[in-house]
């Protein structure tokens, strides 16, 4: 089946004051099929959010998309005019950001913030738009929608604000929703509620989703497929069961090893030696080689490409 979204060789660089380039995305590959929930996993700073912003073409100076293709069905998003891209944003592809406190306009009522979207994309008049907004508020399980509609963001709790961000993202029934660390800024109890919401939205509305996170527990819970990202590149991807059962890339292995489960007891907490590379000057060859316990000569010199090792399970490593 042809995927809904295909990203190939995406390169997004950021220029620093001194003229160097931070290679936030250096040849990223990604695909999402209809109805799938794909997770992108990696440490902070590996470029996960940049992928999301690049897909939506929200990258601004000093960042730039250097190369790559992003196909949404049959449309090449990177080649669209800004005006046509705006029709895609919020309507075909939308995004839910991670910090509800700062991502809502403090002087605009909740209802208006959600409605803005609907009016522009769906051409509704004020009355029908209002009804649609109330309906969406119910869908994201916000109590007393009429009251919340009239409220301002600072009057809502963190969990409710996050639900509002969801409402904004789904009001136009997009094909694809990107979730950028949807639970990171929330308390654990609220996290569980939001996760529940994500599951429901997925099942009921059959939306495809990309979820960016560094929480492997959530990935195991709701993702269909996983992409593991390191230093601006995808190092492994595949079906979630396959990845979790048998991670092939040394980095994936280390990541999964460093997560404790409540049943386990470990003598030592395993951490990955070394630190995340400077993306202005990434290591030659395989970017993980300085920290890899299984590195070989070849790893210093040649960049490994993603090869299919098992059915649908791809990895970029010379040691496999």
């Amino acid at each position: 089946m042809k995927p809904l979204l295909t990203v190939e060789n995406l390169k997004t660089y950021f220029e620093t004051d001194e003229g160097a380039f931070v290679r936030a995305n250096d040849g990223v590959r990604l695909s999402v099929c209809a109805g799938e929930l794909v997770a992108i996993v990696g440490e902070s700073g590996c470029g996960k959010s940049t992928v999301a912003l690049s897909i939506l073409r929200l990258i601004k100076h000093p960042g730039r998309i250097i190369e790559g293709t992003v196909f949404l069905r049959d449309t090449e998003l990177l080649k669209l005019s800004e005006e046509r891209m705006r029709k895609v944003r919020g309507k075909e592809v939308s995004i839910v950001f991670q910090n509800p406190v700062t991502y809502l306009n403090p002087v605009m009522r909740i209802g208006d913030q959600i409605m803005e979207n609907a009016i522009f994309h769906l051409g509704l008049d004020k009355r029908s738009a209002e009804e649609k907004v109330l309906e969406i508020l119910r869908q994201v399980k916000i109590p007393s929608p009429e009251r919340i509609y009239q409220s301002y963001p600072h009057e809502l709790s963190g969990g409710m604000k996050q639900r509002v961000l969801f409402a904004i993202a789904i009001v136009c029934q997009p094909l694809l929703v990107i979730l950028d660390e949807p639970t990171t800024a929330l308390d654990v109890t609220i996290q569980a509620q939001i996760l529940q919401l994500i599951k429901e939205l997925r099942n009921r509305l059959r939306m495809s989703m990309i979820m960016i996170t560094h929480d492997l527990g959530i990935v195991a819970d709701i993702a269909d497929r996983v992409y593991i990202m390191y230093a601006g590149k995808i190092v492994e991807y595949g079906d979630v069961f396959s990845i979790f059962r048998e991670p092939l890339h040394p980095y994936s292995r280390a990541l999964l090893n460093s997560v404790l489960s409540i049943n386990e007891y470990k003598e030592n907490l395993v951490s990955i030696p070394g630190s995340v590379p400077d993306l202005r000057n990434p290591p030659t060859g395989c970017r993980f080689h300085p920290r890899c316990s299984r590195r070989m000569d070849r790893c210093f010199k040649e960049i490994p490409s993603l090869q299919e090792e098992k059915d649908g399970h791809f990895v970029a490593c010379w040691g496999v």
Binding site: R86, G90, S94, T102, Y103, V107, E116, N117, Y152
Partner: protein, 326 residues
């Protein structure tokens, strides 16, 4: 609606907090009348007053009574609108002032409108083309604008446009010889208004443009702008509804300050352009040693400014609902 209820409370609280400040101003004004060089009688009655007038004034103002009683009398007088008597103009001070108020209001009002409209428009232009040539030009123009001394710009405008080019009148509010009426009078005043309001307007336009742009640039770095853009709505709406709207509250406070700045600038403008307003009156009265008028101008202006600050605070809370809850 909880937030409307909060708003009402805020308004009341803010209005009440202005009262001590007003009281303090009146106290200062009162002390000024007692501390002015010369004794209070000379201050009130002028240098060459007949003895009966002196006795009358002594009784009226209770100058033989203790200081706090004097203050109460002063306060009571103010309430009745009695600001004293001007011996230079031979009228009650209140009358003298009221005659001049419309001219100043016209001047300052027009200048503020000019400064706000052009200033904010330039700021928006600047922000849309951030860090471009246009941005640099606007920033430079703004800085030149607010660095110009009001009185020097007044001289410059007079010299270039009135004396050399003879395009505009060099001073006055109306053409005294022609004595127009009706619509012609309005046009005549407008014609005379151009240079003085340009004088104030150009300078404070620079200030507004600079401050608004800074506020807007600050708002642009906020996260919710990203959310707005991710909705795919037109950039113009993002600018208007999200960027400008959030920058508006501080700009309102700025405008309040601006009124004060313009009033003090008006002193110079009115003097150079012979514009018959309060600024000119202050200048003339100072040199004529007409201290009752001077003090009254001070009192009235201060109270007006305090009210303006209170109003801008209230406007701020309307524009930014977060402020209402304290």
């Amino acid at each position: 609606m909880t937030n409307v209820g909060n708003l009402k409370q805020f308004i009341i609280r803010r209005a009440i907090s202005a009262i001590p400040t007003v009281f303090f101003i009146l106290l200062i004004a009162f002390l000024a009348t007692r501390l002015a060089p010369g004794d209070p009688i000379t201050y009130l009655a002028g240098e060459h007053a007949p003895q009966e007038l002196i006795d009358e004034l002594k009784a009226k103002f209770g100058l033989d009574k203790p200081l706090h009683v004097q203050f109460l009398i002063y306060f009571a007088n103010l309430f009745r609108g009695d600001f004293g008597y001007s011996f230079v103009y031979r009228q009650s001070v209140l009358q003298v002032i009221l005659e001049r108020v419309p001219a100043t209001v016209l001047l300052v009002g027009t200048s503020i409108l000019f400064a706000l409209i052009i200033g904010i428009a330039l700021a928006i232009l600047s922000v849309r083309h951030l860090n471009s040539f246009i941005d640099t030009m606007v920033s430079s123009a703004s800085m030149i604008g607010y660095s110009l001394p009001v009185f020097w710009l007044a001289q410059l405008l007079t010299f270039i446009f009135a004396v050399k080019l003879k395009m505009f009148p060099a001073g006055g509010m109306i053409n005294l010889r022609a004595q127009y009426t009706g619509i012609y009078r309005v046009l005549d005043v407008a014609y005379h208004l151009i240079l003085p309001s340009l004088n104030l307007g150009l300078i404070y336009m620079g200030l507004i443009s600079r401050l608004t742009k800074a506020e807007m640039a600050e708002v642009l770095t906020q996260d919710f702008i990203l959310t707005a853009r991710s909705k795919g709505i037109p950039e113009r709406r993002v600018m208007k509804r999200h960027v400008l709207r959030n920058a508006l509250a501080p700009v309102t406070t700025m405008t309040g300050v601006l009124v004060g700045l313009m009033l003090s600038g008006a002193i110079f403008t009115e003097t150079v352009f012979s514009w018959p307003g309060l600024g000119r009156l202050l200048y003339d009265s100072l040199f004529a040693r007409d201290y009752p008028v001077v003090t009254a101008i001070f009192t009235v202006t201060s109270i007006v400014l305090i009210m303006v600050t209170a109003i801008t605070d209230i406007l701020y809370s309307i524009l930014d609902p977060r402020i209402r809850v304290e």
